[in-house]
């Protein structure tokens, strides 16, 4: 049997409309909150009830829908039918890891008991060391652990081949592998380019880079792997929040020069390997969450709502316009002109002219 004709349906719907009176209509704040999904359920139900018979409010809602920015592409893991599988799979993976690596688990140490560890962003490297992950895991810290960062060894050559630097590179290389993916000891060096962010151990400024006998790992592997797993399932927003909870250190190719984003959002710089820190003003109202320093004088920082700032002299910062007010989670940069940022929704943008123009990848 035939259906009710659409035209008749439209006429009937239109006939039910009450004359618009702006006094009872949805106000701007409510309309915006509706669109952002921040309206309380009760308020939303009341607004829906009104809008169902108000042509003006329907037109407003339609205008909001038409002008809404495109929703970020949702990963397959967001599908409602399999959404419950994600936490179950993560939990199962964590349990399996925990069971499978008991012998290699690092015993409790002073460092492991420390409440907060910084997130260290290693500088770009020309060739990254690949270490046997298990070897690093078996190291037992005898004292509060230290961290050093990977250095551009190929670029700097023998001048940086001191014993301290070698040990430090070994330490950071092991941590990087542990944080990203296990790799073969015979694997070829990575191509030139910035490595991923590394969740590393606690460096106090005085301890960092002063003691050649320090050991790299202080945290057992499973949490780091769990962190990697979280990244893989797309919990980037959570990572941003975590990044804000601990200092984020951005290391330049010169390990003495580094920036850090303190817990309050302040940006600080050291030129003496962490001995002293100088507070710098980026001019941004929101704290950055990640950065990259391709040289001792060049540093990029990114953060929420399209925040990108750049320093080309190591001291002052300029705001770099970004086309969208989206939360940016990470950045890779090779110099002051070339950078690639990744938003927390997974989209990637690149610039080749110091941020004057951005291109979505």
């Amino acid at each position: 049997m035939s259906d009710v004709p659409t035209r008749l349906l439209r006429e009937t719907l239109r006939a039910r409309m009450t004359p618009a009176s702006s006094s009872g209509c949805i106000d701007t704040e409510t309309l915006a909150a509706w669109s952002d999904g921040t309206l309380r359920a009760r308020d939303r139900a009341a607004a829906e009830s009104h809008a169902s018979s108000c042509p003006r409010c329907q037109a407003l809602l339609a205008a909001m829908a038409r002008t809404a920015p495109p929703a970020p592409a949702r990963g397959w893991w967001h599908a409602s039918t399999i959404g419950w599988l994600v936490p179950v799979a993560v939990a199962a993976a964590a349990v399996l890891l925990w069971i499978n690596v008991p012998a290699k688990r690092t015993p409790p140490s002073v460092a492991a008991q420390q409440p907060a560890s910084p997130v260290v962003t290693a500088p770009p490297v020309a060739s990254a060391d690949r270490r046997d992950e298990s070897k690093d895991r078996e190291r037992v810290p005898q004292q509060p652990a230290k961290v050093e960062e990977a250095r551009p060894r190929a670029a700097t050559g023998a001048t940086r081949a001191s014993a301290r630097a070698e040990q430090a590179n070994a330490a950071s290389g092991g941590m990087r592998d542990a944080a990203v993916a296990p790799s073969s000891p015979t694997a070829p060096p990575a191509a030139a380019g910035p490595p991923p962010q590394v969740a590393a151990t606690e460096p106090t400024p005085a301890q960092t880079s002063t003691d050649a006998s320090t050991v790299a790992t202080s945290r057992p592997l499973p949490p780091t792997r769990a962190l990697t797993e979280q990244m893989r399932i797309g919990a980037r927003a959570e990572l941003m929040a975590k990044a804000l909870a601990v200092p984020t250190v951005i290391v330049s190719p010169d390990a003495n020069v580094r920036w850090r984003i303190a817990m309050g959002g302040d940006v600080e710089r050291t030129v003496d390997g962490g001995g002293t820190w100088e507070i710098q003003s980026t001019g941004a109202s929101t704290p950055p969450t990640a950065g990259a320093a391709p040289s001792p004088t060049i540093c990029w920082l990114v953060g929420p709502r399209g925040l990108v700032v750049l320093s080309t002299d190591g001291r002052t910062w300029q705001r770099v316009p970004f086309p969208e007010a989206i939360d940016l989670g990470s950045i890779r940069a090779s110099d002051a002109a070339n950078a690639t940022v990744t938003a927390v929704d997974g989209r990637t943008f690149t610039t080749v002219d110091g941020g004057k123009t951005w291109r979505a990848l």
């Binding site: 259906d3 009710v4 659409t6 349906l9 701007t28 915006a32 018979s53 205008a63 002008t67």
Partner: protein, 227 residues
Amino acid sequence: MGAYSADLELARLCAEGDEHAWERFVREYRPLLYRAADALDRTQGAREIADSLYAELYGIKTTAGERQSLFRYYQGRSSLATWLRAVLAQRYVDRVRVQRRAEPLPDEEEAPARAGSRNEPDPDRARYVALVRQALGRAIAAMTPRDRLRLCCYYLQELTLAETGRVMNESEATSSRRLARSRLAIRRDVERQLRTEARLSDEQIAACFASVADDPGPLDLKQVIYE
């Protein structure tokens, strides 16, 4: 509220006339506002509203020598970007509605009268059409406001399924499914009313639907969804 504290702070500084804040606002939000304006009206009509909005946001209106900015109405219940879109949408919709009042009614509004005045070969046709209309009105009145709003978004505002889903805070597929379900529920309710209240037979009910089916209209849900 806390989620938009940075936006609130920016709005506060702009309202106070902080030049740096205003520069930042213009740099970050003007592209967004223009994009929204273009989405509303490709003929630059909405851009004019967006431009005039800047004047009000900057606060050129003075009351007793004091600058008053539109920013003071922003309370941080949403992001500043969404609030700006909402302000723009209100200005635009109100302007369009005022313009439409001055225009003659479209042909569509005359359709019922035209249908009623048609020279019908079937003497029962007019009665059948009236019965279906009456039953349809009741069926729609019996729907939940949310279902009714979804129908209005799709059929009256002519939003796409994705846009309808955005309004209803549900996915495009869910909107499609629920619209189809609403259509089916309406159809069954109308049929039930014709059978139990108008006491029509199956043949008469079929004739009722045939009477109103000769003009399916430009938008057919079944066609959109299933074909």
